[in-house]
Every structure is written in C-alpha cells, then in structure tokens.
C-alpha cells in the first residue's frame, strides 16, 4: 500500500516537474550570470517551453505558461504581458509544427527553434524599444538567442531522459 502511494507521488512529481522548472526558472532566472562570463546568457524558459510543448503540451499547459510569463515580467521589470505573449508565440510555433510533422526530426526542430527565438526576440525588442521606449542592448539579445540555440541539444538530451522516466512511471 505504502509503495503504491510512493509510486503515485513520484508519478505526480515527475509529471509536474516541467511546470516546476518553468516557474523556478522565471522566478530565479537561471542564467549563470554569477560566473561573470561577459555576454554569456541564455533563455532557459524558451528551451523548456519549446521542448515540452513540442513533445506534448500535456506536460506544460498553456495557462501555466501564460502565468509564468507574467511572473517573468514582474521579476525582470518588463511591461506586464510581454513575456506571456512571447512564450505563447513559441507555443503557437510548436503547435503548428506538431500538426504538420509526421516523423519528428531533431535537425528540423533545432532550426525551427532558431527561427522561433529570432522572431520572438525581434518582437520583444521592437515592442520594448519602439512602443514602451525602453532602450535595450540588441547585441545582448542576439548573443542570448545564439546561446539558447546552441544549448538546445544539451537540454534536449536531459529532457529526453526525464520524459522517458515520466512515461515509465505512467505505464507502471
């Protein structure tokens, strides 16, 4: 009986892990800035949202993504709604990709991520600079997009392991 309870608990914990990671990353901004490497930064939330919504939006529902975006805006100091809008744009691309793809292909997904983050960051920069008159560093956005793109395969590997574990727990 106790092992059954333990199993259910682990199952739920693993199932909600992507949401937990998303909120942790927006509240904490996991970007390893304390390493003091100039220009080094990447957007963990973008990778997380892209991967899990592309795999299966059940793990990361759109409502949570919307809320996480609002939290991110408050923490970073952006006008409220901007991050939610950007995160949901990523979800739109992944939903479209899911609908048109029969056999998932890593290279296609990776290039789609590059295209998506470039579009999303461009929209963010344009809205901040031209609508809200908040001056931003274009180069930093570009480098951030580059590192986010480069780091995707590493997180893909880690998230694949996690997804397998979730599936195994589900089948038990």
């Amino acid at each position: 009986m106790s092992s059954l309870n333990k199993n259910t608990l682990i199952k739920s914990l693993l199932f909600y892990l992507p949401i937990f990671l998303l909120f942790l990353s927006v509240l904490n901004e996991i970007d390893f800035n304390y390493l003091e490497i100039e220009y080094f930064s990447f957007n963990f939330a973008y990778i997380l949202i892209f991967y899990w919504t592309l795999k299966n939006p059940r793990y990361l529902n759109y409502g949570s993504i919307f809320l996480a975006g609002l939290v991110n805006d408050v923490v970073v100091g952006l006008p409220m709604g901007v991050s939610s809008f950007c995160y949901l744009l990523i979800c739109s691309v992944t939903a479209y990709l899911r609908n048109i793809t029969i056999t998932p292909n890593f290279i296609n997904d990776w290039i789609s991520l590059l295209f998506t983050i470039l579009v999303v960051n461009s929209i963010q920069v344009i809205s901040l600079d031209f609508i809200f008159s908040i001056e931003v560093n274009y180069m930093r956005y570009l480098i951030n997009s580059g590192f986010t793109f480069i780091f995707y395969p590493i997180f893909l590997f880690l998230f694949n392991i996690l997804e397998k574990k979730i599936k195994i727990q589900k089948n038990d």
């Binding site: 942790l24 509240l27 904490n28 901004e29 996991i30 970007d31 800035n33 304390y34 390493l35 003091e36 100039e38 220009y39 930064s41 939006p57 059940r58 529902n61 759109y62 409502g63 993504i65 919307f66 975006g69 609002l70 939290v71 408050v74 923490v75 970073v76 100091g77 952006l78 006008p79 409220m80 709604g81 901007v82 939610s84 809008f85 949901l88 744009l89 979800c91 739109s92 939903a95 479209y96 899911r98 609908n99 048109i100 809205s127 809200f132 908040i134 001056e135 931003v136 560093n137 930093r140 956005y141 480098i143 951030n144």
Partner: protein, 285 residues
C-alpha cells in the same frame, strides 16, 4: 496548390483554436489575453495599478525565496575567489590603508571648512536615509535593476537616490507598498548629470548594459585634458534629484573606441544592503 493552402489553414486553425487534452484555454484566447494586459498596462487606471502592485508584492517575495540557493552559490563563488587572492589583497590593502590615513586628515579638515563655508552662504543640505535590503538582484542581460524591501510604507518615493556606503548606485523607478525597484547606473536607460574632477567638466554618464558607463554630452572637448590624470566622476547636482558631490566612479580612457568608460566605485553584483536617500537642498537667502 489549393490543397497545400487548405493543409496550412487546417494546421493553423488546429494550433490556435483546438483545446487539447488538459488545456483549459486555447492558444488564441491566451494570446489575446496577454495582448489586452499589455494594452491595459500602459494606461494608468487605479484598479490596474492596484492589481499590478498586488502581483508584484507576491512575486518579489517568492523570487527572493526561490533565489536563496542561487545567491548562496554566487556568494560561495565570490568567497572562494577572495580566499585565493587573500595574501596579495592583504599586502595591497596595507599600502592603501596607510595612504588613506594620510588623506583622511586633510579630508577631515576640508569637511569642516566646507561646512563653515555653507554656513556663511546659509545653504543647507538635509537628507533622509532609509536602509534597505536587496531582495532580488537579477543581473539580467536586458535590464539592470534591483528590488529593495522598502516601499511607500517607509516613505520611499520615485526618483530617490540609492547609495552603497557613500557611492551612488542608482535611483528608484517603481514603488510598491512594501518594496521598490531601483534602476542601476549600469542600465542602458540610466542617464545622470555628473562633474569630472579635477578638470571641472560637466557631462552625462550613461549606462551601457555592462558593468561600466560611458561619458556623453560634454560641453567642451575633454580628451586632451584627461590624458595622464586620474579623473573622478561625481554627481553634479543638476536636475535636482541628487546632491552634488556623490562619488560615481573613475574614468578609464579607452583610446581604441575613443570613448571614456566610467568604472563604477560600487560593485553592483555584490549589493546586499543599500541606503535610499532623498535630499532637500535649500538656501535661506
């Protein structure tokens, strides 16, 4: 061709409108909702302001708690680096301490003299200090801001200066009931009027988004004047926000880029406690 377009429309419609399993809202609804929030946020309705303040109060506190492990790692990293350079730093500090002791004597005399001169012209500078803890210190690649644990409850107002010991760090840009957000001098949107001493040139220090600032908008050409000199950047007091004479940083002349970089005195990555100060500069004349 028509079939290809139909497939595209079907895929788009399915992506935006279809609510899949365990989804309470469709993508399109949420995109519209975030768009409405962006638009409403730009209006200054009281109700929206209260909602925003409420959300910020909760999120700032949560972010502080969630950031504890990362801050611990950050502190540990700094401590290890300090420990490794302990001996060299001690020798440097010893020399610097002797130098500073000598300077302090003449400095004390200058302060007394300055106070007497102020009394002569009946000028008074009154300041109100509020000590605040840095709750969230996100060294974000985009915006350089810190969140402090003092807000309108403690009479904090927009525009008040933030100082670390006696060095200027930034100014308050947003005030909530129990907390506030300060824009650091290193942020791209920060611009403060300064005075370059000892060459006596007025300028504006702009943030760069990096750990230094740049000198902009000088009235006179100062490139020749600063050659071979140590230039200290102080606030000029223009604009009335800050009092004059708050130390900001020193100039690092960068000949390659032909721009003067300002190295800030305070290390913005290591701020734990700061002072929120408001100045009331008055003359009895």
């Amino acid at each position: 061709m028509v079939k290809g377009r139909d497939d595209f429309v079907i895929a788009i419609r399915s992506a935006f409108l279809k609510k899949s399993y365990q989804q309470k809202f469709s993508l399109l609804t949420l995109i519209f909702l975030s768009f409405i929030i962006i638009i409403l946020g730009s209006f200054n309705f009281k109700a929206i302001q209260y909602v925003k303040i409420g959300i910020k109060e909760v999120v700032y506190r949560s972010s502080f708690i969630v950031s504890i492990p990362e801050n611990y790692l950050k502190d540990l990293n700094i401590k290890i680096k300090e420990h490794l350079s302990f001996h060299d730093q001690f020798k440097k500090n010893e020399i610097e301490l002797n130098d500073l002791r000598e300077k302090k004597l003449s400095n004390d005399f200058l302060i007394l003299e300055n106070n007497k001169l102020r009394e002569l012209i009946n000028e008074t500078v009154q300041s109100e200090d509020v000590y605040a803890k840095v709750l969230v210190d996100k060294d974000s690649p985009y915006l350089k801001t810190i969140i402090l644990n003092k807000g309108s409850k403690n009479n904090v107002k927009i525009g008040m200066a933030i100082v670390d010991n006696s060095y200027l760090v930034g100014k308050i840009i947003e005030v909530n009931y129990t907390n506030s957000r300060a824009l650091l001098l290193s942020d791209l949107n920060s611009k403060i009027p300064v005075l370059l001493e000892p060459i006596d040139v007025h300028a504006v220090v702009s943030g760069t988004g990096k750990n230094y600032g740049v000198i902009e908008y000088t009235k006179d050409e100062y490139g020749q004047k600063i050659r071979g000199k140590e230039i200290i950047v102080y606030t000029s007091g223009y604009g009335g926000l800050f009092k004059s004479g708050l130390p900001v940083g020193t100039i690092l002349a960068d000949n390659l880029n032909k721009e003067s970089k300002v190295s800030f005195f305070s290390d913005f990555r290591q701020l734990d406690y700061v002072k929120i100060v408001s100045y009331d500069i008055g003359s009895n004349n």
